[in-house]
C-alpha cells in the first residue's frame, strides 16, 4: 500500500478490528513510502519497472529509442493535472475508499492465459503470468513475495490516478477478449502446461471468494495455485463458506450461467439431504389481450430471438422508407421536377450536389439537368407562350391529357359518377328535350371532370387561370392542378378577361370535342366552371350581381319592381323563398353566343329569346347547372352577413325604443364591441382580403 494522508489513523483503527476481518487483513499489508519505479519496487518478470502506467512506460521506451537513434524527444502530449498535495503518485485520499478498494474482491473476469492465438507478447514464455491489469504494479504483486496485493495505486511518473490506470488496463483486457471473436474464433479457456505450472492466485475462485467473506484468507504465497474442482466448490458452498453479501452477486451469476447453459428441457438439482428436484421447462399460453408495454416487450423478445434488428433500427429504416419503399434513385427528369417544385435554381442544386460529395453522386450534374430541362420543356403540355395578355400554356389540352395518362398509369384515376344530370324539376318538358351539349355528357357515360377557373389577386394584380381534374384525390392541391395562365393586369373586366382566356378557349373547345384518352379509351370531358361569382359573370357575359336576373342558374329576378312585373310574374324573385324555380336551359349560354361583331338578340321578357341579363356573348358555352356554387366565397359572404345582422338588430331595437339617433349610436358602439369581442375571444383580426372578413389567430 502506498502511504497517504490519514493512513496511520486508519491502520490503528483497522488493527483494532478482530483478527481475520477485512480491515485487519488489509491493514496487515506492507506500506511503501514512495514508488519511484524500479529503484524502489524493482521490476517485474517481464522487465517492466513497477510503479509506472502503460503510457509512461511506453513513453520511456520511445524516449529511449529516440535517444538510441538520435531523434529529439517531444513533449508529453497530455499531462495529467497535479494531484492534491503535490504528490506525484496518486493516493486514495479517504480511508474508507482505501479500505473498500483493498478489501473488495476483483470484479473482473479472470484473465485468459496468454496464447499465441491472442497475440500476447508473452505467450509461450515460461514466465508468462496472468495480468491483473495493464499496470505493472498490479502485475508485480502476483510474483513478489513481499507485496501480496496493492490496489489503488497510480502511475509514479505521470501521476495518473488509479482509476485511470485501471481503466486503461480494463480496456486492454476487453480488447484481448474481443480479439478472438473478431477473428471468428471461439474463446476457450484451455490452460497450457506453462500456465498450469505457475501459481495462479488471482484466478483462484476458492481464494477470491473466502477473501471477501469473514474467513481467514490464505495468502498467495502459501496457498497452492490450483482451481478447485466442482465438488470442492459445492462442498464449500454447502458448508456456508460463501455466505458473505459480497459474493451473492457472483453466486447468482454462476447459478444463472448454469441454468441458462444450452437448451435443456430439465434441470436436476440435488439437495443436501439427497433429494433431487427436477425443474422442467413448461410452455404456458400467452395472454391474448395485453397492454402496449407488454406488446413492446414481446416484440423486442421476438426480434432478439429471431436475430432481427432492434426496434430503433427498424423505426429508422421505416422512416427512411417513407412514403412506401426504400431509398429511391430519382431519374434526371424527376430531379428536374423536384428542383422546379421547390423553386431551387440549377446553380444551387449543383452546389448541393458538389457539397454532398460521394453521397450526391446520384444527383444529376448541371449539364445533365439543363439538358433534361430543355427536353421536358419541349413537351407540348409544358410549353409556355407569352402574349400581350400574359403567359399561357401552349396546349392546355396536352397538359390535361398528360395528367390523365399519368393518373391512369399510377392507378389513381377516380370515377366521379354524376347522379342526376338533368335535374330540372320544374320544367320536365324542357328537360326531356334538352340536346346534348359539349362538356355535358349524359350521366350514364363515364367521363373525366375538369374544372376551369380564373381569379384575380395580388398587388400588382395578376389573373390566374387554372384547370383541375376532379377524378383524383385532393384535386384542389396546387400540385394536382394545372396552372394554365398568369396574366398581370390592373383590372379584370370583361374585355380583359376575354383577352386573357382567348388563348385557352380553342384548347377547351378541342378538349370537349376530341375527349381524352383514359385507360386506352376515349372518354368525354365534363366541363365545370369554378371561379368567384364576379369572374363567372364576366366570362358568361352576365351583367353581374346588380342585374335584374342576377342568378346564373335560374331566371329569378332580384327583387320585385314595377318595371319588371312581367319577369317577376314569370320567374319569381330571389326574395320569394318557397317558390318554384325556373332554371336556365342547359344551352342558354350556348345560344347566347354570337359571332364576332354580331349583336346578341334581346327578346321579349318571359320568352326564350330574352337575354335574362346575359347581355354579352358568353366566352364559354357551359351548362348552367355545372357552375360551381362557389363554396369559399359563399361561406365568407354569409358569415359576414350574419355578423352584420347582429348590428342591424341592435340598431333597429334602439331606434324603435329610443329614436334614430340613439339607434345610430348603439350601432356604432355595438360594432366596436363586436370587433373587440372577436379579437379577445376568437383572436382574429380584420383583413382587407377574404371578403373583408377576419383572419387569425393572433
Amino acid at each position: 500500500m502506498k502511504k497517504a494522508k490519514g493512513m496511520e489513523q486508519w491502520r490503528l483503527w483497522a488493527q483494532a478490528n478482530p483478527r481475520g476481518s477485512d480491515p485487519a487483513v488489509v491493514a496487515s499489508l506492507p506500506v511503501v513510502s514512495c514508488k519511484q519505479g524500479a529503484g524502489v519496487l524493482g521490476i517485474d518478470a517481464n522487465g517492466t519497472p513497477r510503479g509506472l502506467c502503460d503510457s509512461c512506460y511506453q513513453r520511456r521506451k520511445r524516449a529511449a529509442s529516440r535517444v538510441a537513434t538520435g531523434t529529439p524527444p517531444c513533449a508529453r502530449p497530455h499531462p495529467f493535472p497535479p494531484q492534491q498535495g503535490g504528490q506525484a503518485v496518486s493516493a486514495p485520499s479517504p480511508s474508507v475508499g482505501l479500505m473498500h478498494e483493498a478489501a473488495a474482491p476483483p470484479t473482473r473476469l479472470p484473465p485468459h492465459p496468454p496464447s499465441p492465438a491472442r497475440g500476447d507478447a508473452t505467450a509461450g514464455s515460461p514466465v508468462a503470468l496472468p495480468r491483473l491489469c495493464s499496470s505493472p504494479l498490479a502485475a508485480g504483486t502476483l510474483d513478489a513475495g513481499t507485496v501480496n496485493l496493492v490496489t489503488g495505486g497510480g502511475c509514479a511518473e505521470c501521476g495518473a490516478p488509479a482509476h485511470t490506470v485501471r481503466l486503461s488496463g480494463e480496456r486492454e483486457s476487453a480488447a484481448q477478449h474481443a480479439l478472438p471473436r473478431e477473428r471468428c474464433r471461439d474463446t476457450t479457456f484451455v490452460r497450457d502446461a506453462a500456465v498450469v505450472a505457475q501459481p495462479h492466485p488471482e484466478t483462484d475462485a476458492f481464494r477470491r471468494l473466502p477473501f471477501a467473506s469473514s474467513h481467514v484468507a490464505p495468502s498467495a504465497a502459501t496457498q497452492p495455485a490450483a482451481f478447485p474442482d466442482c465438488q470442492t466448490f459445492l462442498d464449500n458452498l454447502l458448508a456456508g463458506n460463501y455466505d458473505g453479501d459480497r459474493v451473492k452477486s457472483v453466486l447468482e451469476a454462476i447459478s444463472n450461467a448454469i441454468s441458462s447453459r444450452g437448451e435443456r428441457p430439465e434441470i436436476h438439482l440435488k439437495h443436501k439431504n439427497g433429494r433431487v428436484r427436477v425443474y422442467t421447462t413448461q410452455l404456458s399460453p400467452r395472454q391474448a389481450v395485453v397492454k402496449t408495454s407488454h406488446v413492446n416487450k414481446r416484440r423486442a423478445t421476438a426480434r432478439r430471438l429471431h436475430g432481427m434488428a432492434p426496434k430503433g433500427v427498424a423505426r429508422a429504416q421505416r422512416r427512411r422508407a417513407h412514403p412506401k419503399s426504400g431509398p429511391v434513385r430519382l431519374s434526371v427528369a424527376q430531379q428536374v421536377r423536384l428542383v422546379a417544385a421547390l423553386s431551387i435554381s440549377h446553380i444551387g442544386f449543383n452546389r448541393w450536389r458538389l457539397d454532398l460529395g460521394g453521397a450526391g453522386r446520384d444527383l444529376a450534374s448541371l449539364p445533365a439537368m439543363r439538358a433534361a430541362c430543355r427536353e421536358l420543356s419541349s413537351l407540348p403540355g409544358k410549353q409556355v407562350t407569352v402574349t400581350g395578355s400574359g403567359a399561357h400554356l401552349v396546349s392546355l389540352t396536352a397538359a390535361i391529357q398528360e395528367r390523365v395518362t399519368a393518373l391512369c398509369a399510377a392507378g389513381l384515376l377516380i370515377k366521379r359518377p354524376v347522379r342526376d344530370a338533368l335535374n330540372v324539376r320544374n320544367e320536365p318538358a324542357v328537360a326531356a328535350h334538352l340536346p346534348t351539349l359539349p362538356g355535358s355528357p349524359p350521366p350514364s357515360v363515364p367521363d373525366v371532370q375538369v374544372t376551369l377557373g380564373l381569379d384575380k389577386s395580388g398587388d400588382p394584380g395578376t389573373v390566374k387561370t387554372a384547370a383541375t381534374i376532379i377524378n383524383q384525390a385532393h384535386p384542389n392541391s396546387p400540385s394536382n392542378t394545372i396552372l394554365a395562365g398568369v396574366c398581370p393586369c390592373e383590372t379584370d373586366g370583361c374585355d380583359d378577361l376575354a383577352a386573357m382566356i382567348e388563348t385557352h378557349l380553342l384548347q377547351v373547345e378541342s378538349l370537349l370535342r376530341d375527349w381524352v384518352w383514359a385507360r386506352g379509351v376515349r372518354q368525354p370531358v365534363r366541363l365545370l366552371f369554378g371561379s368567384d361569382y364576379a369572374a363567372q359573370c364576366d366570362v358568361l357575359g352576365h351583367k353581374g350581381a346588380s342585374a335584374t336576373q342576377p342568378c346564373l342558374g335560374c331566371k329569378s329576378t332580384r327583387c320585385p319592381r314595377k318595371a319588371q312585373r312581367l319577369l317577376d310574374v314569370a320567374y319569381c324573385t330571389l326574395q320569394d323563398v318557397v317558390v318554384d324555380r325556373h332554371l336556365r336551359e342547359a344551352t342558354h349560354f350556348a345560344v347566347r353566343m354570337v359571332a364576332d361583331g354580331a349583336a346578341p338578340t334581346v327578346g321579349a321578357p318571359g320568352t326564350s329569346e330574352h337575354h335574362c341579363s346575359v347581355v354579352r356573348s358568353p366566352l364559354l358555352a357551359i351548362n348552367p347547372s355545372q357552375n360551381v356554387p362557389i363554396p369559399l366565397h359563399s361561406t365568407q359572404g354569409v358569415t359576414h352577413r350574419y355578423l352584420r345582422l347582429g348590428i342591424d338588430m341592435e340598431m333597429l331595437f334602439r331606434s324603435a325604443s329610443d329614436g334614430t339617433v340613439a339607434g345610430r349610436q348603439a350601432r356604432a358602439a355595438f360594432a366596436a364591441e363586436l370587433v373587440e369581442l372577436l379579437h379577445e375571444r376568437v383572436r382574429v383580426r380584420p383583413t382587407s382580403y377574404h371578403g373583408g372578413l377576419f383572419i387569425g389567430r393572433d
Binding site: 412514403p323 412506401k324 421536377r337 423553386s343 435554381s345 430541362c373 421536358l376 420543356s377 409544358k382 400554356l393 397538359a399 399519368a406 389513381l412 366521379r416 347522379r419 335535374n423 377557373g453 389577386s457 395580388g458 387554372a466 385532393h474 396546387p478 400540385s479 395562365g485 398568369v486 369554378g530 361569382y533 350581381a545 342576377p550 342568378c551 342558374g553 323563398v577 347547372s625 360551381v628 356554387p629 362557389i630 363554396p631 359563399s634 354569409v638 355578423l643 347582429g646 348590428i647 342591424d648 338588430m649 340598431m651 333597429l652 331595437f653 334602439r654 339607434g663 356604432a668 360594432a671 366596436a672 363586436l674 370587433v675 373587440e676 369581442l677 375571444r681 376568437v682 383580426r685 380584420p686
Partner: protein, 210 residues
C-alpha cells in the same frame, strides 16, 4: 355563441332566439358545404332541409335582410349540385386561390425585368414541377389514415384557448391592429346604416300610405 351572448338585453328576445337559430343552422350548413369529400344522400337531403330552413328563417325573422345572390345560390342551387355531384368543396375555388399564395411567394425568385417575364418564368417552372410521372404519383399517393385530432377534455389542458399564453407583440403592431379594427367597425356600421335606414324609411312610407 359569443356574439349572441353579447346581444343579450340589447335586442328583443324573439330576434335573439331567431339569430341563435340562424347561426346554428349556418354552422351545420357550412360544415357540409366545406367538406372535401363525397357526402351521402342522407346528408345531402339534410343539407337541403337546413338551407331551406335557414333562408326561410332569415327572411321571416329579419325582413330587412335581402336575399343576396350568394344566399340564393346556397339555398336553391347548392343542394342540386350536391345531389348531382356529391360534393361542392371538391369542385370549389380553393385550388385557384392557393395559386395566388404560391405565386406571391415564389415569383420574385425568377428572373425578369417585368412582371410578365417573371410570370412566364414562373409558369415554365410550374409546368416542369407538375408531377406527371406515374412513378412519382404512386410514390406520393396518400397511404395514411387521416389522424384524429385529440380534443381537450380537461379544464387545465394546454390546448384550450384560455390556457394558452398570449404572445408578446410590439406596440406598433397592436396599434395597427386596433386601427384596423376601428376601420372595420366603421365600415360595417355604415353598411348596416344603409340597409336598416332604407328599411325604416320604407316602413315609414308604407305606414304613411296606409
Amino acid at each position: 355563441m359569443d356574439v349572441c351572448l353579447a346581444l343579450e338585453g340589447k335586442v328583443s328576445e324573439t330576434n335573439l332566439a331567431a339569430y341563435e337559430r340562424a347561426w346554428s343552422l349556418w354552422n351545420r350548413v357550412r360544415k357540409t358545404l366545406n367538406r372535401a369529400a363525397i357526402i351521402s344522400a342522407e346528408e345531402a337531403a339534410q343539407f337541403l332541409a337546413d338551407t331551406s330552413s335557414m333562408v326561410s328563417l332569415v327572411k321571416r325573422s329579419f325582413p330587412w335582410l335581402p336575399i343576396s345572390p350568394k344566399l340564393h345560390i346556397l339555398m336553391c342551387h347548392a343542394p342540386d349540385f350536391f345531389e348531382r355531384f356529391g360534393s361542392i368543396r371538391l369542385y370549389g375555388e380553393q385550388g385557384l386561390e392557393a395559386w395566388h399564395g404560391r405565386y406571391g411567394q415564389n415569383a420574385v425568385k425568377y428572373p425578369g425585368a417585368t412582371e410578365l417575364e417573371r410570370a412566364a418564368a414562373f409558369m415554365r417552372e410550374m409546368a416542369l414541377a407538375r408531377e406527371a410521372g406515374s412513378d412519382v404519383l404512386a410514390r406520393y399517393a396518400p397511404s395514411r389514415k387521416p389522424a384524429k385530432a385529440r380534443k381537450a377534455t380537461k379544464p387545465d389542458d394546454k390546448r384550450r384557448r384560455e390556457n394558452k399564453p398570449r404572445l408578446l407583440t410590439c406596440s406598433a403592431k397592436n396599434g395597427k391592429a386596433e386601427k384596423k379594427r376601428k376601420q372595420w367597425a366603421a365600415k360595417i356600421s355604415g353598411e348596416a346604416s344603409t340597409t336598416v335606414g332604407a328599411y325604416i324609411e320604407r316602413e315609414h312610407k308604407m305606414r304613411a300610405q296606409a
